[in-house]
Amino acid sequence: MIKKVQDLARKWLEGKEVDAIFGLKEQDGYIAPYLFADASELDNLTISTEYRLCYTCRPPKENILALMQRREPNTKIGIVARGCEERALVELAKRGQVDLDKVKIMGIACTPEEAKECRCERPYPNNLVIGERVEGVSGDENINTLLNKSLPERLEFWRHELSKCIKCYGCRNVCPMCFCKDCKMEQEVFSKTGWLPPEIPMFHFIRFYHISERCIGCGQCEKACPVDIPLLTIFKLLRKDVKDLFDYEAGMDVEQEAPLLTTLDEMPMKEEVPSGV
């Protein structure tokens, strides 16, 4: 599999189909995202479920691909993308962040083990280039256990989990869909700043709602959480709600309009600010 990825990357680079390949590089046993501009380096190109190639750089507060495209608009970048990464790119393009004309996606399939590890429902890209498509996991034990509890028990479960939060913003920072310059999680109007644990549930709910219809289910938020809050569980439930309510799944098609992404032809409703405030 990795050999095929390296060979195709070499072909793309040498054939000038792309100017660089964005993938994972292994060095001294450590793996990290890297932009391969020279075919001779491609022996170090690797694949791993540990890292994704769609994330927002901070402080620029911009997706890494968007940042690269803004710095060098004429560079065509090839990207080794799993299903979730392809979906992230589609959503980013839909929201005007990334120009897909300047990206060539090398879609790779995940193995059954990888799909299981990520509890992934769709472990393959729509444009599969390398690997065998395997079906995603159906059903989710964590969700079933949760849904079998009574409502007060579920509330207590989440209250306990969220009370562990140390406000690292890691869930937001790794999220491929969290690219707002003006993040609502940071604002005192939504949850009190400078306090641990951050206000329950508002600090988290503001992100849950904000991301609900763009979440592509990669689970990076859960993996970044230092206190093991089961964030993938809640996002899977949200994704299901979006599917049931709007028959919409994030990341499928650039042309498909997101249900909560509306154009405001007129000024938004003015907030009533009571006098004297």
């Binding site: 001294d28 793996i31 990290a32 501009a37 620029p60 060098e72 140390i166 890691g170 700043t193 993996k223």
Partner: protein, 708 residues
């Protein structure tokens, strides 16, 4: 286009998390967690996530500065180095001990080693110390006398498998967030959590027992635990017999510390104390975690040795998921101590008064070395005020915010005839200097940091130095050469580590080639040795191999509340900022979370004094006065107020007591007597010009447009 990720070690706390620095076309564009790292495992705290922002701050120093007629003028490196070399030579010729050096727990091992070598071999003085004096000097002494090694006995990840964790004087979730991760994981797996802290810290919500002792009564708490354990026969008799000495002395001392007596001293209800002590004693694997809550007292060494007593009494040393685990505050405070940036020891805690040790270093450095141990941080400031210290060289420290009784520190520093500072920012301390040298941050240099679990890890260069700044190790070498030394010829930090390894038994096996694939925990005595996850497995590091019990009586803090100053003032840190704020206060998100300081006061005290939430109040002690906002909260008990020390405009250390532990010379930051009053306009205008109340974000001043 070039885009790479450079693996490095976090520059904030001592947890030793690793992350990647993202570099796009030579420019730093962010942080990415490292999934395969032993401690961080792909996670970070809010400071780690934002650790690239201050590096590229516009406030970074980019050129050497020389003060002329009271203001700084940009200078060339040659001019600045010549000025410093000339001055230091003058003082050296008259009396080397009129010079003092502060090394830095923020800098690498290599830099700390060079700084202590510079002080001893070039300047000829043992007057070298650093901020470890202010945080864990009592650990180095206390665990040193009890176990023979003043470092964390076990490893961070072992906490996850403990059956009981006793946390005393550590607000772990805020100060060492990624260590709290393993405490919470232990809790989820069924471990019992005992928090001993006057404040209701973040972890207390998960604690099985929260013992709220009166500040400064920790020895009584430990003795109370041990009294009960002995009364109930819960001690580990075999361990005591085989592995330790001095037990009779301990038994005699703790006899009077019955639960009733301890309740009187500490205010902890005796039933709670009994339940917690029993839980700790009965656990198969019990870990003690502590930090500055017990070290920063005039009884700091007593507190630390008491924790060692308790662990040995129950046989909780020398096996996984047990031990006495001091959490060190700075990224490389462990390393700075290991490297001998201390007035009494060379690297590896080899004593300057030991002739054989001294001969070894004299031989390696080809020069005579001073015999008399030097001055500690607070002593240096005192001697500067008395004109006995005339010149100071400070690398990457900011005593103008971090040391106790800042007015006195200012007096000392202003009284110096010559002060040189090397730093990445023009700190409050650098502003007082005659010459300032621009250093590089962790992101622009190579080296190693040693984390709190004795893990030596690589710091890698991600970007080129900003402006004309230069790496600290390079600056020290240049300065040593300017002073005529020939013993500072190093091609790269790896060469310095080779010299460290050749002179330091616990680091003998450390070499860059090995570190590239992951850290090594000292002691690592040979190039084949895998490193040591936990200490004292078969024997202790003391000369006879035994641990030592000390019978320690409770002593009151140096300054107690009275009629005039009725409150106990305690100081500390918060998760959103770090130490003197030089890095975190240049980070947007952290400033948004907490823009300035405050004083925590209990609702009942606030009501009694008529203080309302957010109101500006004046806090006074015998040292000074500050104005700050009142934060009314039950996090502090009645009679106790708490101020975070990060904020220069309302600096807690204007108030703190410089009274020292007699042995470790650590100041009593955690207890002093204070009064708190409603703010009077007239006094403030004089006392603190430039203080502004930060604007509050309210719904009214948030624009409604532009929401996504």
């Amino acid at each position: 286009m070039e885009y790479k990720n450079v693996l490095t070690t976090c520059p904030y706390c001592g947890a030793g998390c690793n992350f990647y620095l993202q570099v796009l076309n030579g420019e730093l564009v962010g942080v990415l967690p490292c999934k395969s790292h032993t401690v961080s495992q792909g996670k970070l705290c809010i400071k780690g996530w934002n650790a690239s922002e201050f590096v590229i701050s516009k406030e970074r120093l980019s050129k050497p500065l020389i003060k002329r007629n009271g203001s700084f003028i940009e200078a060339s490196w040659d001019e600045a180095l010549d000025t410093i070399a000339k001055k230091l030579k003058e003082y050296k010729e008259i009396d080397p001990d009129s010079i003092a050096v502060l090394s830095s727990a923020k800098c690498t091992n290599e830099e700390n080693y060079l700084m202590m070598k510079f002080a001893r071999a070039v300047l000829g003085t043992n007057n070298v110390d650093h901020c470890a004096r202010l945080c864990h000097a009592s650990t180095v002494v206390g665990l040193g006398q009890s176990f023979g090694s003043g470092a964390m006995t076990n490893s961070i990840r072992e906490l996850e498998d403990a059956d009981c964790i006793l946390i005393i004087g550590s607000n772990t979730a805020e100060q060492h967030p990624l260590i709290a991760r393993y405490i919470l994981r232990a809790k989820e797996k069924g471990a019992k959590l005992i928090v001993v802290d006057p404040r209701a810290i973040t972890l207390t919500q998960f604690a099985d027992y929260h013992l709220r002792q009166r500040p400064g009564t920790d020895v009584a708490v430990f003795n109370g635990f041990m009294n009960l354990i002995l009364a109930e026969g819960l001690e580990d008799k075999e361990f005591i017999k085989e592995r330790a000495e001095g037990f009779e002395e301990l038994r005699e001392t703790v006899k009077i510390y019955t639960p009733e007596h301890v309740e009187k001293i500490t205010g902890i209800p005796k039933d709670k104390l009994i339940a917690a002590a029993t839980t700790y004693a009965k656990a198969e694997h019990a870990s003690i975690v502590y930090s500055m809550g017990i070290t920063q007292h005039t009884t700091g060494v007593d507190n630390v040795s008491s924790s060692a007593n308790l662990a040995m009494l129950t046989g909780n040393v020398g096996k996984p998921s047990t031990g006495v685990n001091p959490l060190r505050g700075q990224n490389n405070v462990q390393g700075a101590c290991d490297m001998g940036a201390l007035p009494n020891v060379y690297s590896g805690y080899q004593s300057v008064t030991d002739e054989n040790m001294r001969a070894k270093f004299e031989d390696a450095w080809k020069t005579k070395l001073p015999e008399k141990p030097g001055l500690t941080v607070v002593e240096m400031m005192n001697e500067a005020a008395k004109s006995n210290i005339k010149a100071m060289y400070i690398m990457g420290e900011n005593p103008m915010i971090s040391d106790p009784d800042i007015s006195h520190v200012r007096e000392g520093l202003e009284n110096l005839e010559f002060l040189a500072v090397q730093d990445i920012f023009l700190t409050e301390t650098a502003q007082l200097a005659d010459v300032v040298l621009p250093a590089t941050s962790y992101a622009e240099k190579e080296g190693t940091f040693t984390s709190t679990e004795r893990l030596v890890q690589m710091v890698r260069k991600a970007i080129e130095p900003l402006g004309e700044s230069s790496a600290d190790w390079q600056i020290i070498c240049d300065l040593a050469k300017a002073m005529g030394s020939k013993e500072f010829e190093y091609g790269a930090p790896a060469d310095i580590m080779d010299e460290i390894a050749s002179l330091t038994p616990s680091y003998a096996g450390i070499v860059y080639e090995r570190l590239q694939r992951g850290g090594l925990q000292w002691p690592c005595p040979s190039k084949e040795h895998p490193g040591t996850p936990y200490l004292h497995k078969e024997k202790f590091s003391r000369a006879n191999g035994k641990g030592k019990f000390f019978g320690i009586e409770f002593k009151e803090p140096a300054e107690l509340p009275d009629e005039e100053y009725p409150f106990i003032l305690s100081t500390g840190r918060i998760i959103f900022h770090f130490h003197t704020g030089t890095m975190t206060r240049k980070t947007e998100l952290l400033n948004k979370e907490v823009p300035t300081g405050y004083v925590e006061i209990n609702p009942k005290d606030a009501e009694r004094l008529g203080i309302v939430a957010g109101e500006l109040v004046s806090v006074q002690t015998r040292r000074g006065q500050i104005e700050t906002k009142a934060l009314i909260t039950e996090r502090v008990p009645e009679g106790v107020i708490f101020i975070p020390f990060h904020f220069a405009e309302c600096a807690a250390n204007v108030l703190t007591n410089p009274a020292l532990d007699p042995v470790a010379k650590i100041p009593e930051y955690k207890v002093c007597a204070a009064k708190i009053e409603k703010y009077q306009v007239s006094s403030t205008l004089k006392a603190s010009p430039g203080f502004t109340i930060p604007p509050r974000i309210t719904r009214a001043n948030i624009p409604s447009k532009g929401r996504r």
